[in-house]
């Protein structure tokens, strides 16, 4: 406990500095995000679905895939010179390492969002109508959820043969349930659907914007706690 704050800060700063120096992952994330958004924009012209629906979806997909890139990197840097062992040798709790890396990934996604949101607004005819705070809140919840699972599994997936694609399927399948309320929340914020939806179907299952935010918060809380508790088992021998 004594080492918590100091090591948390140290790992966080070290990761951010290393990434800013390497200038590797952030540019890749941004380019990937932009490409996804543009491809979806082009595709949406061909379909009869209005582009305002595809916009929020494009945002989530870009966020998911950029998040995967960031998470993979967060443990790839520890593999280079076996630095992960240096971390395990130190009297740092495994949970602290997890929280620090989680925080780094969330920050990376935030930086990514700052750049990708203007791109989404450029590409799709969307408007938020002064609901900016809600948008930021929903995106933050999404960031935390996306990073929570990826940070845990990135630590172990480094050791497998298939590496990147394996992390993708793990994270996407576990996050799939969270995407339902997440999509609902964004669709409401961008005015595509009303704040309440009734009837049958997946969106009605969520019901309302508040319920969507509630579900996302619950997912985040459950997954962060579970991954935090299990992280020690994942990296120690």
């Amino acid at each position: 406990m004594k080492y918590f704050w100091l090591s948390f800060k140290a790992i966080f700063i070290k990761d951010i500095v290393a990434e800013l120096r390497a200038k590797q992952v952030l540019p890749t994330m941004i380019v990937l995000g932009m490409l996804i958004v543009w491809i979806l924009r082009i595709a949406s012209e061909a379909s009869s679905v209005s582009t305002t629906v595809i916009g929020p979806v494009a945002l989530w997909i870009a966020l998911l895939f950029a998040g995967l890139l960031a998470q993979e990197r967060s443990f790839a840097i520890e593999q280079q010179q076996d630095c992960i062992y240096a971390l395990l040798l130190a009297p740092v709790d495994a949970g602290t390492i997890y929280l620090a890396k989680l925080f780094v990934n969330v920050v990376m996604l935030c930086i990514f969002e700052i750049i990708i949101i203007p791109v989404v607004f450029l590409s799709f005819p969307l408007s938020v109508q002064n609901r900016w705070l809600s948008l930021i809140a929903v995106l933050m919840l999404g960031n935390i959820g996306i990073s929570s699972v990826g940070t845990l599994f990135s630590a172990v997936v480094q050791l497998t043969r298939t590496r990147g694609s394996l992390l993708s399927i793990i994270v996407l399948v576990i996050l799939a349930p969270m995407m339902i309320p997440a999509t609902f929340a964004l669709l409401t914020l961008f005015g595509v659907i009303g704040a309440q939806v009734t009837g049958s179907g997946t969106l009605a299952f969520v019901g309302s914007f508040n319920a969507a935010v509630g579900y996302m918060t619950a997912f985040d809380a459950i997954f962060v706690v579970a991954c935090w508790l299990l992280f020690g088992f994942a990296i120690k021998e």
């Binding site: 599994f153 399927i169 299952f205």
Partner: protein
């Protein structure tokens, strides 16, 4: 012993079908898939519980048997999740003329299937040595289980194209359903048992057994 149980399971299953069709007189006959669909869904969920128990057991005690139980259960569970989805699609095509629709129950059943499949892929991709595979799969098993309750909740509480409950015309049909439930549960248990032993023997033969 296990052969007898397997035989018993098959016999029970056939008996339930016969009961439903003749004594219960369900019509149209296409509703027969129900007797495979409902028990499959229960089994698919229960198998995941066994995966969870095996995962927690392994992380707690580091004994390989727990991990093998989890793996066997994941394989059997994948089988039942496949059956669940396929029989569901057959039934809905027959009954309502659509193969699939994005309703909560169907989506969460699909997610259950994906969770099983990703577990199996993860297991296959990890190197067999150093307890690593067991540890990682156990961690995945526990995290994945957090998604499973939704399958259950969405079935029971949400309005959906999927009928959450149905009434039977005669008590024979209810009996048939119960019988088929018992049959498939028995089948699942025996399969898990068989598979665990097979995995144990494979590990012993290859002399890797958790190196």
């Amino acid at each position: 012993m296990r052969r007898i149980l397997l035989l018993l399971a098959f016999v029970l299953l056939l008996a339930s079908m016969w009961m439903a069709l003749t004594l219960g007189q369900i019509t149209p006959v296409k509703r027969n898939t129900l007797y495979a669909h409902v028990p499959s869904s229960v089994c698919a969920l229960l198998c995941f519980v066994v995966v969870l128990v095996g995962s927690i057991g392994y992380l707690y005690s580091a004994k390989p048997t727990w991990d093998l139980i989890a793996a066997a259960s994941a394989e059997v569970g994948a089988l039942f999740a496949t059956m669940l989805n396929v029989t569901g699609m057959i039934f809905s095509r027959a009954e309502w003329n659509i193969w699939w629709t994005p309703s909560p129950r169907l989506i969460t059943s699909a997610i259950l299937w994906f969770l099983y499949v990703v577990y199996l892929i993860l297991r296959a991709s990890l190197p067999r040595s150093q307890h690593l595979r067991a540890r990682v799969c156990a961690v995945f098993g526990i995290i994945a289980f957090l998604d499973v309750p939704m399958v259950f909740i969405s079935a029971r509480f949400m309005p959906d194209i999927h009928r959450p409950s149905f009434s039977f015309d005669s008590s024979w049909q209810t009996a048939a359903l119960v019988l088929s439930m018992a049959a498939i549960a028995l089948l699942a248990a025996v399969l898990i048992w068989l598979r665990t032993d097979l995995l144990k023997n494979t590990a012993k033969l290859e002399k890797e057994s958790f190196c």
